[in-house]
């Protein structure tokens, strides 16, 4: 099948879009897809995310100069579950186990950035997770800022003052963590 855009290259990337409740498939070659991706057009479409994730892996490997497309990367295997780069692609971007996130981190980073609105978790944490790590502080800071906006909008200024104090405290703690890291180096 030829690419819908250039009508020259073989289409290797198939993106499902919804239009008026109907599904259309855009068939693109890697070059045209990466062009679209660079222009930020892909993120504006309502396509299948899992598919895109898997295809982005293909795009980045196509875009890399041949000498960088090293054997070791292709040969990466998760020691915990035996998952490989090929399996990630064959299973639509799916991973084999929680450890895979570390093993395939370089390959996942870009894709995760493209699919989500941010790259750090700001939501709920399990009760067992630590509450003094940097990410936990960042998450609370984000939530408190949000809360502060809402309080000010509702003109609940006393509550807002308490919230602002907590925000300053969190900022200080984060700064301390950053300085601490520098000291250790």
């Amino acid at each position: 099948m030829l690419c819908d855009i250039c009508k020259k290259n073989e289409a290797t990337i198939h993106i499902k879009e919804m239009h008026g409740g109907e599904t259309h498939t855009a068939n693109l070659c890697a070059a045209c897809a990466s062009e679209k991706e660079k222009n930020g057009e892909l993120s504006a479409l309502g396509f299948n995310l899992a598919e895109m994730l898997c295809n982005l892996g293909k795009i980045s490997s196509v875009l890399k100069p041949p000498q960088e497309q090293t054997q070791p990367e292709r040969a990466t295997v998760c020691p915990n579950c035996g998952w490989t780069v090929d399996k990630v692609r064959n299973f639509g971007g799916r991973l084999g186990c929680p450890e895979c996130y570390k093993v395939f981190a370089p390959m996942l980073a870009e894709a995760i950035k493209n699919v989500h609105r941010g790259s750090v978790h700001l939501g709920k944490r399990p009760q067992s997770a630590s509450h003094d790590g940097r990410a936990a502080l960042e998450a609370e800071l984000n939530n408190r800022r949000h809360e502060l906006d809402a309080l000010i909008k509702r003109e609940e200024y006393e509550e807002a003052a308490v919230c602002r104090d907590r925000i300053n405290q969190l900022k200080a703690e984060l700064e301390q963590l950053t300085n601490g890291e520098v000291d250790h180096e």
């Binding site: 008026g20 639509g92 699919v115 997770a129 630590s130 949000h146």
Partner: protein, 353 residues
């Protein structure tokens, strides 16, 4: 096992039968959370023994914590069920197609009123679900947050400090949360505004899906709006974004219905009347025709055209006309032609004023 299915079948489906906010346009609100157990392979990579072990571990956690009202909850092992009973779970929106397609090691736990459930070993070890009638995502979130805490206090969830809850597919990583509202948008469909509206919503990083068969064009003007991004925002922020957009969508739909009434009253009345006539007087009804007619009648109920007809009766019919539900009601397997006859009989019966 079969007793459980029969009991389930006798349940009122509360997310369709009970009243909810904005229920004239919003049919139901649902949230799903993806969770996985640390130290286990995801279902796609696990073997049968590991999958069955996970089923037992999660069931045990549910039983000990009393989540889902367990041990008094329903527990279904799809691999031990016949095709018809499995389809019934799908039609009641308790199980996904992917879940039922897995060959082994899956289990479904359901609270007796069907408002809360957990699919074990779908794409992730746990897919926790809560559902309420109408447009009330915040109330749904409260319920699922509690359910997640109950289970999470007894299970070791796979969690990364920066990436959040680790899921089989990185499209769900972070909060692992997929929140959706099922909307009835005939006004936007009839006025031709639905396509630009969907495109607009897609640009906001939210997904719109037509309901009535995955991949097929939408039936009955039913749409599901959900979040796509699960990382980089808190659950509350995601829900706020959804609430704003869905609130606007509901307002648009109301305007569109007003517009139809003002500009083209008789076309709208004709559409509703023909839909009602078909359901009330047919002897053969395909699933698609029934869904489209129910959609038409639903508009009429909202506009106050049928004082004797309750909107929840119409809502419940959306599920009752499903192939599996018809066959369970008939007590035997039915071919497509027989189902059309039974479907028409059910609609005639339920719409009898």
């Amino acid at each position: 096992m079969n007793d459980d299915i029969d009991q389930l079948l006798r349940n009122r489906v509360s997310f369709l039968a009970d009243a909810g906010p904005d229920e004239d346009i919003a049919i139901s609100s649902r949230i799903r959370l993806a969770r996985n157990l640390a130290g286990h392979r995801f279902p796609v990579a696990a073997d049968s023994a590991e999958l069955h072990g996970i089923c037992d571990e999660v069931s045990e956690a549910a039983r000990e914590s009393g989540a889902l009202g367990c041990p008094a909850c329903f527990s279904f092992d799809p691999e031990k069920m016949n095709e018809l009973d499995r389809e019934l779970l799908l039609e009641r929106r308790l199980a996904s197609r992917d879940f039922l397609n897995r060959p082994t090691g899956t289990r479904l736990l359901v609270k007796d009123d069907e408002s809360r459930s957990v699919m074990i070993n779908e794409e992730d070890h746990l897919r926790i679900q809560t559902m309420l009638p109408g447009f009330q995502l915040d109330a749904v979130w409260k319920q699922i947050d509690e359910l997640d805490n109950q289970l999470g206090s007894r299970l070791d969830y796979a969690f990364d400090d920066r990436l959040g809850f680790l899921t089989c597919c990185p499209t769900n990583v972070g909060t692992g949360m997929r929140a959706s509202v099922m909307l009835h948008l005939p006004g936007l469909v009839l006025t031709g505004q639905i396509t630009p509206t969907i495109q607009g919503i897609n640009k906001l990083n939210l997904a719109v899906r037509g309901i009535g068969g995955e991949g097929t064009s939408n039936q009955g003007s039913l749409f599901q709006v959900s979040n796509q991004s699960t990382l980089g925002e808190s659950e509350t922020q995601i829900l706020e974004r959804l609430n704003t957009v869905i609130g606007q969508l509901i307002a648009h739909e109301k305007n569109a219905r007003q517009l139809l009434l003002q500009r083209d009253q008789f076309s709208l009345l004709d559409h509703v009347g023909r839909s009602y006539g078909t359901l009330r007087h047919s002897y053969k009804l395909s699933g698609e025709e029934a869904v489209n007619c129910l959609s038409g009648v639903r508009v009429g109920v909202d506009l106050g055209m049928f004082t004797a007809l309750n909107i929840h009766t119409v809502n419940e019919l959306f599920i009752g006309i499903g192939a599996a539900h018809l066959q369970k009601a008939a007590g035997r397997a039915l071919n497509a032609a027989e189902r059309d006859v039974c479907r028409a009989a059910l609609c005639r019966e339920k719409l009898k004023a």
